[in-house]
Each structure stands twice: as C-alpha cells, then as structure tokens.
Symmetry: C2
Subunit: 384 residues, 2 copies
C-alpha cells in the first residue's frame, strides 16, 4: 500500500534532526531494479527550489535509482549554496548505496524557504537511511515526508502481476511555509521512460492538477514515477495509465481530505462546457473565490458567488443560460433564482457544486476546500 | 466634502425599508445643471446586475441628471423582472424630479444577489428622497449606500473655482454578499462627456483598479462622474484629471482602510519592471496570495510567499535577480536570503512590500489587506 508495494523497491524513513521537534524528516526510496526508467513532473512556478532544478536535470536522462526526500526545509531561494547542498545529498546517497551514479538520484525537499538545510545531519541521515532500507519501509518513508500533514498518505493498486504504489505529502497548495506537494510513485511494471512520462502527465493533469486548495503554487512540487521492471510484465499502455491515474486520484483525495484548516471538501463539477479547457478555467475560478469558500464554510448556498466567479472567466457561456446546483438542488436556473435555496443541505463534509454552462458537451471537475479561521491561524503563525 | 460639494448638485439619503434592520438604504443624487454630461465605468464581470446593464445604456448617451442608489439588495441574477425593477426605479425618479427623461437616470444597487428588491418600498423611498433633496444632503446619501461599511466615505477637492467631490461604499471586493464598490463623483466644472470619460478611466485605472482586497469581482461595481457645469469654469484637462485622480485615490484609500475583517493595509510596490503591465500583474499576484496575506496578518516577514507568487506570473524577470523588501528591510537579495528578517518590524497597521524585478524602469503599486479570521467569519455568516 505504499512505495514498497511494487517489487524491486526498498525504503526507509527516520528522524535525522532536520526538524527541531525531533519528528521524522528524512526518507529514502531505492529502486533495486533491474530497470531504472523514471518520469517526473514539477511545479510550474518560475521560482524553483534547488531540488526541483536538480530533478529536472536528472529526469532529462529518464533514469532514477533512488530518491532522497526531506521535510523540515524546502531548500528554495538558498542561492548557489543551496544547489550545492542538493547535489551533495545526491552524491552521498549514490555513494552509500554502493557506488551508484549520482545523476540518477532524485532529491525532493519541503518546509520553510530561504533557509539552508543542516547538511551535516541530513547527510548522516542519508547514511542511516541506507542502512535501514527494507522492503516494507514504505510507510515509514511516507511518515518522514510529512510537514503539517495530520496523517501520512499512501496508496497502491495491483493488476495482472504488476503493481503501482505511492506516497504523498501536502495538502494541495494549502500547507504552510509554501505548501509543497511531494509524491513518489513506484511500479514493478517493465516500461520505458517515455511511456512512464506519458502516463504520469496524463494522470497528474486529471488528478493533482485539479485539486486547488488555496490557489497558491509551491516552488517545490514534485511528482516522480519510478519503474523497477521487477515483475517482468509489460502491461498494455491503457491498463497502466489507468492504474497510475487510480493511485494519483487516491492520493489527491487524501491530500484534499487533509487540507489544513478545512472543514469541507468541495467538488466543483463543470458540465456542458464548450471545451475541457473552458470547464477547467471555470472550475478553477470558482475554486479560487475566497467569498465562495467562506460561504461553503458557513453552509450558505450562496450561488451568487459561484456566478460571479464564473463571470470573471473567458469561457464560452451566456450569463442568462447558466444553471447552478449545490448538493443537487438547482438554486440558479438560467442565471436567475431557481429552486428554493433553503432546501439545500450542506451539513455534510462533502459539498458538490455543479455549474452547467449550456455551451457544449465538455466537462471537468476541480476539487477544493473551504476557507476557515483555522487556515488563517495556521498560515499566519507558521514561521514564528 | 461629498457629492454635494460641487455646485449644482443636491442629494438625499434615507431608510426606505429595503434593509430589514431599518437602517438607511436609499440615496438620491440629482444634477441640477445647467450641464448633464456624465461618464461611467463598470464591473468587467460578465455576469452583470440589472442596474449595471441599465447604466451602460444610459451612459452610452453621455448624459445623467440623477442617480438612485440602494443598499439592501444587488438586483443581480434576478432575470427580466429584475431589469424591469431597475427601469421602474429610473422612471419613478424621472417623474418625481419634474418630468426628466428616465434615460438620464442612473441606478446602482448593492447587497445580496438573486433576490428581488421590495419595489413598493423602494419606489416610495425614491419619492420621499426627492422631497428631501438638499444641497448638503451628500453625507446622508453616503450613509445610505453602506452595506457592511463601518464608516461612510466621502471626499472632495476644490481647485480654481471648481470642485470635484464624491462618495463611495464597499471595501474593494471584500464586502460580503458580493462586495460591490459603488462610487458617485460630481463636479461643477464645465466639461463634455468625452473629457469626463477620459479622466474617469485614467483615474480608476490607477486607483480603484489597483485595490484588490480579496481577488473577487462584483456583478455590480459602478463608478459614475457627473458634471453640472455650474461653476462656469472649463478647466485644463490635466488639472481636471489630477483632481479626479485625487478624489478617487482618497476614496480608494478609505475603502481599503475599511476592508472587512482586515487588520493590515498592504502596499505592494513593484519597481524596475519591464513594463507597467508586468508591474501590475506581479503586484496583483502578490496581492492575491492567501498564504502571504495570512503571513502579514501574523506579522511574519515571509518573503518566500512573495517570491512564490511572483513566480506564477508571466512578467519579465530572472528569479536569481529578484530583491524583496518588507517595510524597508531587503530580506531577499538576488532570489536568496538578504538582510536579517528578524529586523523587520510589522507591528504597524500599514505594511509595505517592495519587489524589485531588475528588468526595466516601470513600476506600479497595488493595495490589498491581510486575510483574517474575521474576514472568514463575516463572509461565512452573511446570508444566514
């Protein structure tokens, strides 16, 4: 049920002393092969942390034999020194793993930015993690990458003789400091880097890219997919892509459920859009409306705030033909008052908002959460 | 110091019974001439309230002899019936003001959307307001357009024999329900509609358009400028535009200072940008970062959140050359750690964030406020 669910992987997680409170903060995931193919997707923020810049270079060659992840420090905006720290981390891991190529060791970091990592402790932690690697270490690795996550997050699916597993930390863009999402996926299917890349991009586009908890984008977001080929099975592309999507969807749901300070999970379904891009644009605009997110927190079916968010987009629609449902009640019909808003029951943690653009047949779903005083509290008190 | 500061205007404000709590909710501003030239700018939201649609038609002819404003209901998303309500309001005002042309009566509304206005009470209120018009009624009019504004907002400047005055309600996009900004400006300068339009657009672009309290956009935003010509003075364009800008800037500052739930006013100065558009894009991205707004609330000089917001824009900049100052302390130099963040004093209500893009010589300033638990509370409890 984790990064060690697939054959050919071992992992470890421990407290290296990077976090001041002594909780686990270092994870190591090792691909024991025989294959080393890998793919990655990264933040689209133009301000990228050192480990992201490093990983983009590593993934250029399509091979990853190990991943070092740390919480307790993002190593972002740390200048050339920070970049050297990342490289030193990859080198130490390569060395203690029996002379691997440092250029196949990915690194991911999360925590406060603008602060150098305590490299002595981190490098010692890498050595210790290498000594503690085990085929059931996936859960401990998942625990070690948490920041303000209240639970660790893992998932796995097994198909005809092959498995896709993974772990994640973060809460969309909601975690404080910078809100990084780190994900490592593993599989024992035997596939090349190009196939992994295609499946990973398709899956993230429909899962992680569609959760938007507070509209903020991290400098450190990293999603990696490593294939060991240890099952000896070469699955059909469609079956493999479906499995990756299933694991990504599972992890994305866990991220959202654990979003900081949230009391509601909001599913925004945009239907009958002219194009999928339109549907995504509309869903995202609604997901980013602080006024709407406050209203949902207050269990107020304030459909006007949905409409006003839609009105800021460039999507094809006629304002007089928009229909909006909240938890199945069509409170807005043709841009005006619809069914009685007092019949909407919003007491459940899950809330579904449906926007019918009446402009075509495309659709998309965006997931977000409500805006709460707890979010404000956690994100105003973090650094102090 | 209000819409009646300029010669040739009278106004009234009273409680017509539109609001359930009996507080003032109807304002009337009348241009007694001799001139009737006017200009207006409106929300760019594609979902527009009935009074906005009506005003856009009225302003097409460049003449306004009166403005009826109500709080207690936005008359947005109310279908064809809502539009008829707006027209009926203009007609009643035209009638009771001695047979004016209804096509010269502007209407503006603010409050909850998706709810019809109580037209009996509103129309009676219009009659009563017409009977109570006075040359010192500007303050009462400003009081009557408040929703959750804690103070009413007026401003005026007098130049060589002519005056520009005005009133405003709202808090950028921050007020609940939909957060409408309504502004009426008056002048006794003798200018044509084209000149008014040019001055108004230039001024709003640099004032109201650059306050962004929560990124949300109303269906009802309306800014009107009426000229009576009663002073008989035809000012130079530049002098007039400066005066309009001064009044707009004053009112914009008052809106921000009264932003719901805010504890900090944040001035985001973007300097050395390649273009003014780049500077505005960057300033707005920073102003819309919930994480940054929470950090400022917590008096945390978390410059990483500024950097990560800048990284989401398409502006010209090199991440390794970005400098960020908070209250004058350059906490980030060349994209990395700068001066000691512990020396930043953020206790004052006003906070200045400076972002130096090192890419040119253009600049822009965006004003916003912090994100607080009080904001969440006010906007989650509003409709209930």
């Amino acid at each position: 049920m984790s990064v060690t669910a697939a054959q050919g992987f071992s992992a470890a997680g421990l407290a290296a002393g990077i976090k001041a409170d002594g909780s686990p903060d270092l994870a190591l995931v090792v691909n024991d092969g025989p294959g080393t193919a890998a793919a990655g997707v990264f933040t689209s923020n133009r301000v990228k942390a050192a480990p992201v810049v490093w990983c983009e270079q590593v993934l250029g060659a399509g091979r990853v034999t190990a991943v070092v992840l740390n919480s307790g420090g993002a190593n972002a905006c740390t200048g050339p020194e920070g970049f050297q720290d990342t490289v030193a981390t990859a080198r130490r891991a390569a060395e203690v793993l029996g002379g691997r190529d440092a250029g196949t060791v990915a690194v991911a970091s999360t925590g406060l930015i603008g602060v150098r990592l305590p490299m002595d402790r981190l490098l010692e932690g890498v050595e210790q993690a290498a000594a503690e690697l085990s085929a059931d270490g996936g859960e401990r690795a998942a625990v070690a990458i948490r920041t303000t996550d209240t639970v660790h997050k893992t998932a796995a699916v097994t198909r005809d003789g092959w498995t896709v597993g993974g772990m994640a930390k973060g809460a969309g863009m909601l975690a404080p400091g910078l809100a990084t999402m780190l994900v490592v996926l593993t599989t024992d299917a035997d596939l090349d880097a190009g196939t992994l890349d295609k499946a990973l991009r398709e899956s993230t586009r429909q899962t992680f890219d569609r959760i938007d908890s507070d509209g903020c984008m991290s400098t450190n977001d990293t999603v990696l997919l490593l294939a060991s080929g240890a099952s000896g099975v070469v699955p059909e592309y469609d079956a493999f892509a479906e499995a990756v999507r299933a694991v990504c969807g599972d992890l994305a749901g866990q991220l959202l459920a654990d979003a900081e300070g949230s009391s509601k999970e909001i599913r925004i379904e945009v239907v009958n859009a002219a194009t999928e891009d339109d549907a995504v644009e509309v869903g995202r605009a609604v997901a980013r409306s602080n006024l709407l997110k406050c209203a949902v927190h207050g269990e107020d079916p304030n459909w006007g705030r949905v409409l006003s968010a839609i009105g800021t987009t460039s999507a094809a629609f006629d304002p007089d033909r928009l229909d909006i449902a909240i938890n199945g009640v069509w409170v807005c019909r043709e841009g005006a008052v619809g069914e009685d808003r007092d019949t909407v029951d919003m007491r459940d943690r899950k809330v579904v908002i449906t926007a019918d653009l009446a402009s075509g047949s495309a659709s998309a779903t965006i997931w977000t959460n409500d805006l709460t005083a707890a979010y404000v509290h956690e994100n105003s008190a973090y650094a102090s």
